[in-house]
Amino acid sequence: MVTALRPKSGQPRSYHFPEFHDETLPSGIRLVTATVTKLPVVTVLVVVDAGSTNDPPGKEGIAALTAGTILEGTERLDGAELTERFELLGTSIESGADWDSSFVKITTLSDRMEEATQLLGEVISNPVFPEREVERLKAERLAEILQLETEPRGLADEKFSEFLYQQDSRYSKPDEGSMESVSALSRKDVQEFFGTRYRAGATSVIVVGDISTENARALINRAFQNWLPGAAPDQPLVAKARSTRKSVHVVDKPDAPQSELRVGHVGLPRKHPDFFPALVMNAVLGGLFGSRINLNLREEHGYTYGASSFYDWRRGPGPFVVSTAVQSEVTAPALREIFSEIERIRVEKISEEELSLARDYLDGVFPIRYETTGAIASALATLVIYDLPEDYYDSYRKNIRGVSVDTVLGAAKSHLHPDELQTVVVGDARVIRDSVADLKVGDVHVHTP
């Protein structure tokens, strides 16, 4: 039989986040490089300070549309030709926008890196934004919006944001824009957004993989010559809660076998001084398989396949949210458990055992997060986008280990607000309405999607 004796941990080997080099090139573009030689692979990630929060009011979706259309042609090559050139090199080029930045990314074998990077520079320095492709990508976005109507998870996320933030907050609207806003976007809007925000001083190129800093610098200097100087303008962000009173919004899906639940409130900005205590607090509450919310809803009650909570970290205060899908019949009891877990972590200290589970996990898993050039490049992009200190990754584990039972309680008391929780249920209103109203977690409003 297998021995009953559990093995003890061995001596840990030291680990350092890959060394990186950070500089500003003559063009004004910031270059961050990390040499990682495990395999002959390189990732080049271009990050531009041009996120969805920079969409002008009424033009929601322009950051995403610009990032998409940037790949659709230069004066020399059209979109189909560009795609083919990249793919013949074995790389595919991806682009997109999130709340705080836009990105263009390639991962390539190192022996094709030079050609691929030259082409990448051409693509984002000289885009022509053909009318036809602008209209096509708009139509594809509209198709995606239609898809959401029958996709309960995406719909729940979107409705949660809508009910969470004030209507004049960019966060209240879908990051890639709504049917109305996207329909109204034009090629001129794309050109304007590009001209305003895609500036050398707003652009960082992150190169990670089997390449030296010297070679990366020479390549990027050559490939990214033609950039407008200067920085992108600052833009104020509204991120206020729509209501500070609890309320429940049921988005009716007759006959839905499950209810998609979102419960939360406006959270914290990424650069908050309580980032580490809040991170550990959330891990105990709902951030791990062994967290309170998952063990309660899944393992104890069998209500769900999984339940979790998270902070959606952004420059501004993104949502704090508990997210799960439960069998329709148990919607009310599941909500009761969620509310009670949020309350409990604010009033009682967590146990040392719970603390050590969360802390040891976040500390120990650190090296596993950075196995690939893509993951390291994303981590470096996080430094750039959120303006985090250079030693952020070197001090990350120390900061995690510094969190205590008391600072977790402090974070929970300061940053969880049970009286302000907004609840969104995408599910069968007929089945769940009365029992959810009986919970008294806010007035119940029923909507059709």
């Binding site: 013949l88 239609l146 589970l357 120990g364 090296p367 196995e371």
Partner: protein, 436 residues
């Protein structure tokens, strides 16, 4: 590029593969059991997957959910997954915790049953039913896999029935079924253990022998029925699903050569020509040029027994009717079938596949999983190092031979999702169409 590989057997039949890499203090443990939904008996659909859940409910020396807790406490990640032909379990841990991951896997392989209770089975049955609701029933196109299996495999073929299982069959699963399944399939001679990352091979051999060595060999498993099928369906197959979806979507499947065969690599390249990334035929033609589709792709199931399945997957634009969608895809397939592919398309596909293969091996978990896969299906973990070469020898001629044999009208199975009436409102459609 080659990764180092060592292979050995324990006396009880466990096949072990090791691949050292000391670039980071990380080690991945990966176990494949050669059992999947194909091994389920009639009336027991979904059992292999439910059983996978039970493997996290404790074993002789591990409490319920403690497996998860111990690994996460050690700073590791873990999970398991079930497929038609296999079930896998995996952990990636800081390398000084490798022994813990191995011990946990050995404890549940050696001694699962003392921890099994009716209460745990009932609870996990509820969890799995909710997984079904979440991933299948309440998700647009979520029934694709089970509808596809039903359409493309003949009745009573081991790949024909649902992997996640029916609610009725899940309800009827018993503790006796758990015990029997465990004794039959969760034996060292029906498993492969792979370790990749930062460890010393000699020490790993010692620990593996200590933990897994005492587990007795199995008594053999019932053979699967004959799974071989003719290379084509014979005549076109078609099923229309009226479902709660917003856009029509067509999955067109072809029988294709089994995973690992020479012809498989030609099929895989054909699939990439057809639907890998935005330079592929379907994307270029249907999404970019003709603008009848919102999205298009293609993939293979990678089945190593009987026959593989290659699937083209095209989602319509809102203004494209299901009938038009089918016509357009048929036209593309007819075209490639009639005229074949050109060199550039083959080069593009192979270049993309090669980059993906190399990039994926950056992660210890991926290395270990692929070692297990090649060891389980073919007894040869070293095939991991031959993949790039096997793709590189695929020529236009081979791809065209494959296409000519497999993409004809006698080998197409169309699964068409059509929005149920009332799902789309006219105003929404008009808004979308007006800007297209």
């Amino acid at each position: 590029m080659r990764i180092p590989i060592e292979t050995f057997h324990l006396d009880n039949g466990l096949l072990v593969t090791l691949s050292e890499d000391h670039t980071a203090p990380i080690a991945a443990v990966n176990l494949w059991y050669h059992v999947g939904s194909a091994n389920e008996k009639a009336g027991k659909t979904g059992f292999a997957h439910l059983f996978e859940h039970m493997l996290f409910q404790g074993s002789a020396h591990v409490k319920s959910n403690e497996h998860f807790e111990l690994i996460q406490r050690a700073g590791g990640t873990l999970n398991g997954s079930t497929w038609l032909e296999r079930t896998n379990y995996f952990e990636t841990v800081p390398s000084n915790e490798l022994a813990l991951a191995l011990w946990l896997e050995a404890d549940r392989m050696g001694d699962l049953l003392p921890a099994m209770t009716q209460e745990k089975l009932d609870n996990q049955r509820d969890v799995v039913k909710n997984e079904r609701r979440w991933a299948v029933d309440n998700q647009p196109y979520g029934t694709m896999l089970e509808k596809m299996q039903e359409l493309v495999f003949p009745p009573s073929h081991p790949f024909q029935h649902s992997l996640i299982g029916s609610m009725e069959d899940l309800s009827s699963a018993s503790l006796a079924d758990v015990a029997q399944f465990f004794a039959t399939y969760y034996t060292p001679d029906n498993a492969v253990l792979s370790i990749a990352g930062d460890f010393d091979s000699a020490e790993a051999r010692r620990v593996v022998s200590e933990y897994f060595g005492p587990i007795p060999r199995g008594r053999g498993k019932p053979p699967l029925p004959l799974m071989t099928l003719p290379p084509a369906f014979g005549s076109p197959l078609r099923e229309v699903v009226h479902d709660n979806v917003s856009l029509p979507r067509l999955f067109m499947a072809f029988r294709s050569p089994v995973f690992g065969s020479d012809e498989y690599y030609a099929a895989s390249v054909a699939s990439a020509v057809l639907g890998m990334r935005k330079g592929s035929r379907l994307h270029r033609s249907l999404v970019r040029e003709r603008q009848v589709a919102a999205d298009a792709g293609a993939f293979t199931f990678d089945l190593a027994k009987g026959t593989d399945i290659l699937v083209a997957d095209v989602t319509a634009r809102p203004e494209t009717s299901p009938a038009r969608l089918e016509e357009e895809v048929e036209r593309e397939i007819d075209l490639i079938h009639r005229e074949g592919v050109v060199d550039e398309e083959v080069n593009r596909a192979i270049a993309l596949i090669e980059t993906d293969l190399v990039a994926s091996l950056q992660s210890a978990g991926e290395r270990a999983d692929r070692l297990s896969m090649f060891a389980t299906y073919f007894g040869k973990p070293e095939l991991i190092n031959e993949q790039v070469d096997r793709y590189r020898v695929v020529t236009k001629r081979k791809v065209n031979a494959l296409i000519s044999e497999r993409f004809g009208r006698d080998n197409r199975a169309s699964l068409v999702y059509v929005p149920r009436e009332g799902v789309e409102s006219e105003s929404v459609l008009a808004a979308a169409a007006g800007t297209g």
